[in-house]
C-alpha cells in the first residue's frame, strides 16, 4: 500500500548479465578424446600390421636367440624369432617366429627354412657375416599354392636358395668319387652349375642331382656325356706327359664335367631327353663309343701267366675289344695238369665294321649265331695268346690273333661261355734268350780282365807319382829362374834405369863435343892462321842503329 514503488523485492532487480564461458572447459575434453583416438588408432594399426606367426621345427636350436635371431629372405629381414621351445616329444626344437605382414605370401606349403651358420668348404665360403651377428634363419619360397604356418626346418641349407633359372639333372653313378654338395659343374672348363644333392640309392649306386644354370642348360642334350672331373688325370703317352684337370677347386672338392658325346652316340641316341644320365668315371670312359653288352669268353692256358691281372686288355689284331675279368687256376684230371683259366669280357661293338656286317645280318642277336661266327674265325686260325706288354713291368695282355701256323684246335660252339683255343705265349722264348745272354755275360773272364786292368792302373799310378816327385820340382825351379832373368832384363831396359840414363847423357855429351869440333873446323877454315897464332879477340858485333827507326813510318 505504499505510494512510491520501491524495489522492495528481489524480483525487481535486473538480471545480472552472466557471461557464459562454459565452452572453454568443454574444449578441454577434446584433449583426452584426441589422445584416446590416437592411442586406439595406433593399437589398431599395430594389430593390423601384425604378420603371421609361424613355427619351424629344427633338430637343434644352436645359436638361436629369442628376440634377436632374424628370419631373412634373400638377405632381407622378414621376421624375428619370438620363442624357442622343445617339442612335446623332446625330439625337436620348435622355433616360433613373427613375420611381417607382407611376408605372409611367402609362406607356401613347401617353403623351406634352415639355419644359416658360417660354412667354410673348398668350393665356397658362406655365412661369414653370421660369425659376428649370430645365426639367422634363411628361407626359400616354395612353388606351392597352399598356405602353411608350421614348417619342418632343413638341417643343411639347400644348394640353391634363390631359385635361379636352369635345369636340374639326375646323374646315376656307380660311386660318387670325391663329389660334395656344392661341387662345380663344368662345361668345357667353364663353371655352369653345381651339385645340389647326392644320395645313396637302395641298390647301392649313387644318384647325384646337378643344377645347370640358364642359359647354359641348353648345352645339355640327349647325347651329352657326364663324367667325374675330380682330381687330376695324369697320362704318360707316346706324346709325352699329359696332365688334365678342370680347375684347382675341382681337384680338391671334386666336380662334374659334361660335353657332347662322341659322334657315334648320335646314332644310338633316342629322341627325347633321358630322365637320368650316367655319370662316367672319367672323360675317356665317357667319350668312348657305346660298347653295348659284353660277351664273356673263357680261355685255358697251359702256361704260367704271372703278370696277367684282372682288367688287363684283350686285343683283337691290336685293337682293344675287352678286358680280363678273372684269372683262375683250373685242374685237368686227364693229365693232372693245372691250366690257367682266364675269363674275359668282349665288346663286339668295338670290332667296328665286322660288327656292323654282323649287325646287318642280324647275327648279333643271339649267342648262337655269334658262336658260329667265332667258330669260322677259329678255323681260320684265331687263337688267344698271352703276350708281354712291357719288358720292364712284365705285365701280360691277351692277344686274339690269326696264327694260321698253329695246330688245329677243336672249337665247341655249344659251350657257354665260349671257349677260345689258345697258344702259349712267346715270352718264355724271350726269357730263354735273355737267360742265354746272361750266361754269356757270366762266362766272360771278368775277374782276369779286372786283375789285368788293376795291374795296368798300378803301373800308371807309379809313373805318375814319379813324374810328380822328380820332374815337377825341377820344372818349377827352371820356371822361377826364367822369371828372374826376365825380371832383370825388364829392369835394365826400363827408361828410368841407370844404364838408359848414362847412355842418354853420353849421347848428349858426344853431340856437344861434335858441335865443338865442327865449330873449330869452321874457325880453322876461315882462319887457318889461328893454328899458329892463336885465336884472335872477337869483335863485338855492332848493334844496328837503324833497326829502331825503321820500325816507325
Amino acid at each position: 500500500m505504499s505510494a512510491a514503488p520501491t524495489p522492495s523485492s528481489e524480483e525487481d532487480l535486473p538480471t545480472p548479465a552472466v557471461q557464459n564461458r562454459r565452452w572453454i572447459p568443454r574444449l578441454v575434453w577434446v584433449v583426452p578424446i584426441v589422445a584416446a583416438v590416437i592411442g586406439i588408432s595406433l593399437l589398431f594399426r599395430n594389430w593390423q600390421n601384425e604378420g603371421p606367426r609361424i613355427t619351424i621345427s629344427f633338430l637343434s636350436g644352436e645359436g638361436i636367440q629369442v628376440g634377436k635371431t632374424l628370419v631373412k629372405y634373400r638377405d632381407v629381414t622378414v621376421g624375428r624369432v619370438s620363442a624357442v621351445a622343445l617339442s612335446a616329444d623332446h625330439q625337436t626344437v620348435v622355433v616360433s617366429a613373427d613375420l611381417s605382414k607382407d611376408a605372409a605370401s611367402l609362406l607356401k606349403a613347401d617353403t623351406q627354412f634352415w639355419i644359416v651358420r658360417p660354412r667354410i668348404g673348398v668350393g665356397a665360403v658362406s655365412g661369414l657375416d653370421t660369425l659376428l651377428t649370430g645365426v639367422y634363419i634363411g628361407m626359400k619360397i616354395g612353388a606351392g599354392t597352399l598356405s602353411e604356418r608350421h614348417f619342418i626346418g632343413l638341417e643343411n641349407p639347400p644348394a640353391l636358395s634363390h631359385g635361379p633359372h636352369g635345369r636340374e639333372l639326375q646323374l646315376h653313378a656307380a660311386r660318387a668319387g670325391s663329389l660334395a654338395i656344392g661341387a662345380p659343374v663344368y662345361f668345357r672348363q667353364f663353371q655352369v652349375g653345381r651339385v645340389i644333392d647326392e644320395n645313396l640309392q637302395p641298390d647301392g649306386s649313387t644318384r647325384v642331382t646337378a643344377f645347370v644354370e640358364a642359359p647354359y642348360d641348353g648345352f645339355v642334350k640327349p647325347v651329352t656325356r657326364f663324367w667325374n672331373a675330380s682330381g687330376i688325370d695324369v697320362k704318360l703317352g707316346a706324346d709325352g706327359l699329359n696332365v688334365q684337370t678342370e680347375s684347382l677347386a675341382a681337384m680338391l672338392a671334386g666336380g662334374i664335367a659334361f660335353d657332347d658325346g662322341p659322334i657315334e652316340a648320335l646314332f644310338f641316341a633316342a629322341g627325347g631327353m633321358p630322365g637320368e644320365f650316367t655319370l662316367y668315371k672319367n672323360e675317356t670312359e665317357a667319350m668312348a663309343p657305346p660298347d653295348g653288352d659284353p660277351h664273356y669268353v673263357r680261355m685255358r692256358f697251359a702256361q704260367a701267366l704271372r703278370g696277367l691281372e684282372v682288367g688287363a686288355p684283350v686285343e683283337f689284331v691290336g685293337v682293344n675289344i675287352g678286358s680280363v675279368v678273372a684269372v683262375d687256376l683250373g685242374y685237368d684230371p686227364r693229365d693232372k695238369s693245372f691250366p690257367v683259366i682266364v675269363t674275359a669280357k668282349l665288346y663286339p661293338r668295338r670290332m667296328g665294321q665286322a660288327y656292323e656286317v654282323l649287325a646287318a645280318q642280324g647275327k648279333t642277336e643271339s649267342v648262337e649265331t655269334l658262336a658260329a661266327f667265332v667258330g669260322t674265325l677259329v678255323s681260320r686260325g684265331l687263337r688267344a695268346q698271352p703276350r708281354s706288354s712291357s719288358l720292364l713291368t712284365g705285365k701280360l695282355y691277351i692277344a686274339l690273333d690269326f696264327l694260321p701256323a698253329s695246330p688245329r684246335a677243336a672249337f665247341d660252339a655249344s659251350i657257354r661261355p665260349l671257349e677260345l683255343p689258345t697258344v702259349n705265349g712267346t715270352f718264355q722264348e724271350l726269357e730263354a734268350n735273355v737267360g742265354r745272354l746272361v750266361k754269356k755275360v757270366n762266362d766272360l773272364p771278368l775277374e782276369q780282365i779286372a786283375a789285368d786292368l788293376h795291374t795296368d792302373l798300378k803301373d800308371l799310378h807309379e809313373t805318375l807319382s814319379e813324374l810328380h816327385a822328380q820332374v815337377l820340382p825341377s820344372a818349377v825351379d827352371t820356371l822361377s829362374a826364367l822369371h828372374k832373368t826376365l825380371d832383370s832384363a825388364e829392369r835394365t831396359l826400363d827408361v828410368e834405369s841407370p844404364l838408359q840414363r848414362g847412355l842418354t847423357d853420353t849421347l848428349s855429351e858426344s853431340r856437344s863435343t861434335l858441335q865443338a869440333v865442327r865449330e873449330l873446323a869452321d874457325y880453322l877454315d876461315r882462319h887457318p892462321d889461328a893454328l899458329l897464332r892463336g885465336r884472335r879477340p872477337q869483335k863485338m858485333p855492332q848493334r844496328p842503329a837503324a833497326l829502331s827507326s825503321d820500325d816507325k813510318p
Partner: protein
Amino acid sequence: MPFSTEMTLAWLIAGIVLYIPANLLPVMHTSGLLGEADSTILGGILEFWRAGDWDIALLIFLASVAVPFTKFIAIGLLLLTVRKNSRWEQHQRTVLYRIVEFIGYWSMLDVIVVALTSALMQFQVLGTAEPRAGIAFFCAVVVVTMLSALSFDPRLIWDRPA
C-alpha cells in the same frame, strides 16, 4: 579459477590414455654389429636390472613409472575429495598438491635419456640409436599431467559448501 576441476579431470584422463601407448610402443631403436633391437621403457628397465645396473634401473623406474603413477593417483584423489567437499586432511592434501607440482618435470628424464643417446650414438655401422614413437607419447604424458596439475586450484581444497 573457473571450471578448475573439470579441466584437471580432462587433462588427467588424456594423460592416462597417452600413458598406455607410451609404454606399449618402443621408445628407442638401436642397431649395431650385434643386431638391432627396439626397446620399450619397461623392457629397458628389465634389461638394466638383469645387466646388474640396478641403480640405473631404479632411477628410470622412478622417473618413468613411479612418478607418473603417483601423479595420476594423487590428482585423482584430490579431484575426488574436492568434488565431495571433503574436509579430510585439508592441510596434507595441499602438501600433496605441492609435491605433485614439484615432481612433474622429473619425468622428463626418460625423454632426455633417449634424446641424448640418439644424438650421441651415431656410429653408422658400429651402432646407431633412433627415437621411436613411444617417447613422443611419453613426452605428451608428462606435459599433459603437468597441465592437469596446473589447472587444479588448490584453494578448492579449503572451500566449504555454501
